[in-house]
């Protein structure tokens, strides 16, 4: 049985059903991300002055990822245009570009996550000569050894570590810290503070959307292209619907980038 209005627009809505479906889905997605953004507003406004971290993200990598997604949104659109003008070779090229750019985005995001998860804040026992906190990236954390090595610096107060943007140059050296001097240590994962909890939740959810979109685009580029030979207009509509989702993912990042990296 043929699914009605998969290609032709419905007379009452003026568009084909899948397009109504994707817009309804995107509306629900707006509410999903909206809930997280409202959580951000609530927590951010409730934080005491001077307590919100600044400069904890690599702005260069964030900017690069923004541009990567912007270009991928364009290649997605051009893939659809190529389908419309019946140039399947160009469609394959543009969709391959989108997939590569999505992979690039995820790799950069993975690198950023790794950077946070290997970054430690080590609280030292009272009376330690250099300071009360050692902060930096873990170099050696072999449990067999009675010391850890990080590449970072000492600080006297957590407040020194909150606003990194105002600190022009931070000298980092390799610090060898005996385990006997360590009171506790914690990586910069989502458990570290509210900001990182929001950062990891929002960006991980966004990255999952990138992954999901990539799977759909990969399917259309690979096994799904059989439909092109049978019903090119139906295939073109599928590309359009997947493209709308991809543009939405780009839109979310347009707000995530300033909120988490710049503000």
């Amino acid at each position: 049985m043929e699914i009605p209005y998969a290609v032709h627009p419905r007379p009452d809505t003026g568009i084909y059903n899948a397009k109504v479906g994707i817009w309804l889905f995107l509306a629900s997605e707006v509410m999903l991300f909206g809930a997280l953004f409202s959580a951000y507003v609530l927590i951010r406004v409730g934080t005491p002055p001077g307590g919100w971290p600044h400069g904890w993200q690599n702005v260069t990598l964030g900017t690069l990822n923004t541009l990567v997604l912007a270009v991928s949104a364009i290649t997605t659109l051009m893939a659809w245009v190529a389908c419309k003008v019946r140039q399947f070779g160009k469609f394959k090229f543009f969709h391959a570009c989108t997939l590569l750019l999505a992979l690039t985005f995820l790799c950069i995001k993975g690198f950023e996550y790794d950077d946070h998860l290997t970054h430690y804040e080590i609280h030292l026992v009272a009376g330690s000569a250099a300071g009360s906190i050692a902060d930096g990236h873990m170099v050696d954390n072999d449990p067999q050894k009675d010391y850890v090595v990080i590449k970072g610096r000492y600080a006297n107060d957590e407040k020194e570590l909150i606003d990194l943007r105002s600190q022009k140059e931070v000298q980092e050296t390799e610090l060898k810290i005996p385990r006997s001097q360590i009171k506790d240590m914690q990586s910069y994962g989502p458990w570290h503070n509210d900001y990182l909890a929001l950062y990891f939740t929002m960006t991980a959810l966004h990255a999952l959307h990138i992954l999901g979109g990539s799977i759909v685009i990969g399917y259309l580029w690979g096994p799904g292209r059989k439909l092109w030979k049978v019903d090119p207009e139906h295939f073109t509509n599928r590309v359009e619907v997947s493209g709308l989702f991809w543009h939405f993912v780009d839109l979310v990042w347009i707000f995530l980038f300033p909120v988490l990296y710049l503000m």
């Binding site: 627009p9 109504v20 817009w23 309804l24 900017t63 543009h247």
Partner: protein, 125 residues
Amino acid sequence: MSELKTAGQHNAPFVGESELQGHAVDFKSYLRRCVFVLIAVVGAVSLMLFASYLPAERFSWPAKVAMILAIACTNAFVVAGFLMHLISEKKMIYTLLAFTTFFFAGLIGLTVWAMQDFPAGTVTH
């Protein structure tokens, strides 16, 4: 992505099918549109970065946040308008988006409204 108003350059055996929804597509005009969007996005990102590094002595934090969000909204409008074709969509989509905007505004608005709404005896910072 369906309201396309430019003339078509079909080189395909399916001539006429892309007019199923009453429009045709021109590859080159879309390429030009994409270049415009890319330039706009790069410009918007540069402006956001510039705004975020403005000196704190001359620009208050709320002013900087407002500037950055205004630029982000403009950037989003360009992407949604031109890449998602929202500047020329069907009434059905606009209706759906109007409802979404209403509920989204409600979601954020209720959060902000309830921000100081603590039960009696709650200890805060």
